[in-house]
């Protein structure tokens, strides 16, 4: 198998795995934040801020994977 074929197989698979990981992470983070907000409604503002930043961080990882795919696609 040459490099081009390996990249052709690997790149979509990599983005898919990144998206699955990001989805699982986001679900877990948001679920826990909702639970925490339900338990402590007075701290909802702080929990929301942490959740939003965490969500953005998780989402950024998928975008990094996508950009990495674009960079590698140029080498195909």
């Amino acid at each position: 198998m040459d490099v081009g074929t390996a990249l052709g197989f690997g790149l979509p698979l990599g983005v898919g795995i990144a998206a699955i990981g990001s989805g699982l992470g986001l679900g877990r983070a948001v679920g826990s934040a909702m639970e925490a907000m339900g338990r402590q409604p007075e701290a909802a503002g702080k929990i929301q801020t942490g959740m939003i930043i965490g969500a953005a961080f998780i989402e950024a990882l998928t975008i990094y994977a996508l950009v990495a795919v674009f960079v590698l696609l140029a080498k195909l």
Partner: protein
Amino acid sequence: MIDIMGIDFINRVAKTSFILSLIQFPFTAVYWSFQNASGIFIGCLWGAANILLIKYIITGLLTPKPSSSKRKMLILGFIKFPLLYGIGFLLLEIGYFSAISLLIGFTIIFLVALLKALGIYLIDNKIINTELPNRYNRSSIK
């Protein structure tokens, strides 16, 4: 008392990142290239728009509001998911801006958030002393 880690923290992070990307622009344009400078700037705008839209969608969905805000949520959701990702895809596909510069710009907002949170943590735990020395303290002047 001002809630320093409240929802306004995200606005401050976006504002600081925008200012930082403006400051880096002339230096990067001179010492690296104009394409990369504008790539970093646009990447930063992309990241700021991303985090601000997440904030609006989450706060809009969590706070109980009249049904008229549903349309606003739909519009924001449309801007956030297909449009913002579409713009990102186009930016990468066009190839005018290098992917690395876009990534650097996109990362600025996370670095700013991390450093701001670290600063708040250090000040709150009195690891860094922010009190003025006695000679500058107005209460000590008689």
